[in-house]
């Protein structure tokens, strides 16, 4: 099993994990982050965490971080299925990502960070 990298649009994840791990940060929307992950999956990268991690719903939080294989490993059917379902699920929720006070965004960043952080000990076991 190879290494992993974190795909994220969350600055806190970049700050917290960027020095110890491979973090690919890009300022994108929640849905566009998932689409970036989808495109990588079609390039052979494997999904290592669930794209709908957390009970904060798509488009209610603007932040999403996903663990991916660091290198392409060949087309993975499970990854494709999960990411397509996740992108489809975005359509069920109203976009509210521009409606919060600044401290709420801090909380959203923190929760996304702890969700992806919970996967790192498992990822490091390999």
């Amino acid at each position: 099993m190879g290494g992993f990298m974190i795909i994220t649009n969350n600055t806190l994840v970049k700050e917290k994990f960027g020095t110890d791990y491979h973090v690919e940060y890009e300022e994108l929307s929640f849905e566009d982050t998932l689409k970036k992950v989808r495109d990588m999956i079609y390039d052979g990268y494997k999904l290592l965490t669930h794209p709908l991690s957390g009970s904060v719903k798509p488009k209610e939080t603007p932040y999403k971080s996903v663990l991916m294989s660091e290198k392409p490993e060949g087309l993975d059917m499970q990854s494709m299925k999960l990411i397509e379902s996740a992108i489809q699920a975005c359509g069920k929720f109203q976009d509210r990502t521009g409606q919060y006070d600044s401290d709420v965004y801090e909380d959203f960043r923190l929760i996304d960070c702890t969700l992806i952080g919970s996967a790192i000990p498992s990822a490091e076991c390999w």
């Binding site: 709908l52 991690s53 957390g54 904060v56 209610e60 999960l82 929720f93 409606q99």
Partner: protein, 426 residues
Amino acid sequence: MKLELGNIFIKDIQFGTESKIENGVLTVSEEAVKAIVLEDEKIKSVNLDIAKPGESVRITPVKDVIEPRVKVEGRGGIFPGVIAKVDTVGSGKTYALKGMAVVTAGKIVGFQEGIIDMTGPGADYTPFSKLNNLVVVCEPVEGVKQHDYEKAVRIAGFKVAVYLGELARELTPDETKVYETYGIMEGKEKFPELPRVAYVQMLQSQGLLHDTYVYGVDAKKTLSTIMCPTEIMDGAIVSGNCVSACDKNPTYVHENNPVVHDLFEEHGKTINFVCQIITNENVYLADKMRSSDWTAKMCRMLDLDAVIVSQEGFGNPDTDLIMNCKKIEAEGVKTVIITDEYAGRDGKSQSLADADVAADAVVTGGNANQVIVLPKMDKVIGTLDYVNTIAGGNEHSLREDGTIEVEIQAITGATNETGFGYLSAR
């Protein structure tokens, strides 16, 4: 393992100088309860309030709901590994204060959910509107981290519940129910003709505000395992959840899990209720594979005929649910799964983020995207500051006339995936 559960019905709660239970009335010393909560230096202040069924009261944002209990005979104490020392619970005698709950409330994060309306249409969607609630609203000290504050409020709720439960230690229960399961061979000999059934409970285990603790252990760090179903009645599983209020299991639901209680109702009559299997819902996909493999393997090793699988949460756990269902069915064990749906406001979207043909027996807790208008209440316990930012709300949620338009996912317990509620399609 055999547990006698003595139920003491609480008809009313009032504040007084001395905490006591007399003739079904719980009197609470505010001073004593506040002192317990303020033992934690991370909590700056605490307010107590009482909300009764039918009152024009809204409690929000709710963190946890807890039923006070006391261990009267047998090993261990309530909330082992959290409040009581680690020891196997689930046998002997326990008393429960029925008809009431401790509700912890207050802001931990700015998008926090959880509404309990004590009257009106919203009250129909939350079973906790039917209880006399002692509401504990905590304020953190300046600068405390959310992790520390979450833990402080979580533990404060359990401590208050244990304090109130202790008031019942010398009382005589209004009714007593006996729950008993048997060893693997013993059960087979006792009920040779009955189908062997277990309950697979999936526990939320993803991170801050998405965690569950088993005997004090963070469930995300556990392998799937088996429990005697009576263990939960002594608080072996507790909630660290408060995001996605509609389909997270508050501690009250763990203590009173209706799947366990309903399976016990049929135990020895139509089924042999063998055990409870607990498994987690981690975000790391290999963890999901391992946990669902383990669950399916145990179902086979226990020679089960059927299981009921309950989910907790949305999205990520849909994948665990389907993995469990597929793998358990592949072992020749029939499954019924309990979930809820996010089918869009019009109900026309795909309900789950995962699916499989093996999932051919599904019970739903309802569509969490369903919109409801909650009328203005005379009194709010907690704050409405976050109603516009909670899941299922938006910037128009809190209207000028005080009504709130939200999806039912904002209501505590509205689509609970153990079936803990009063609404049905019947």
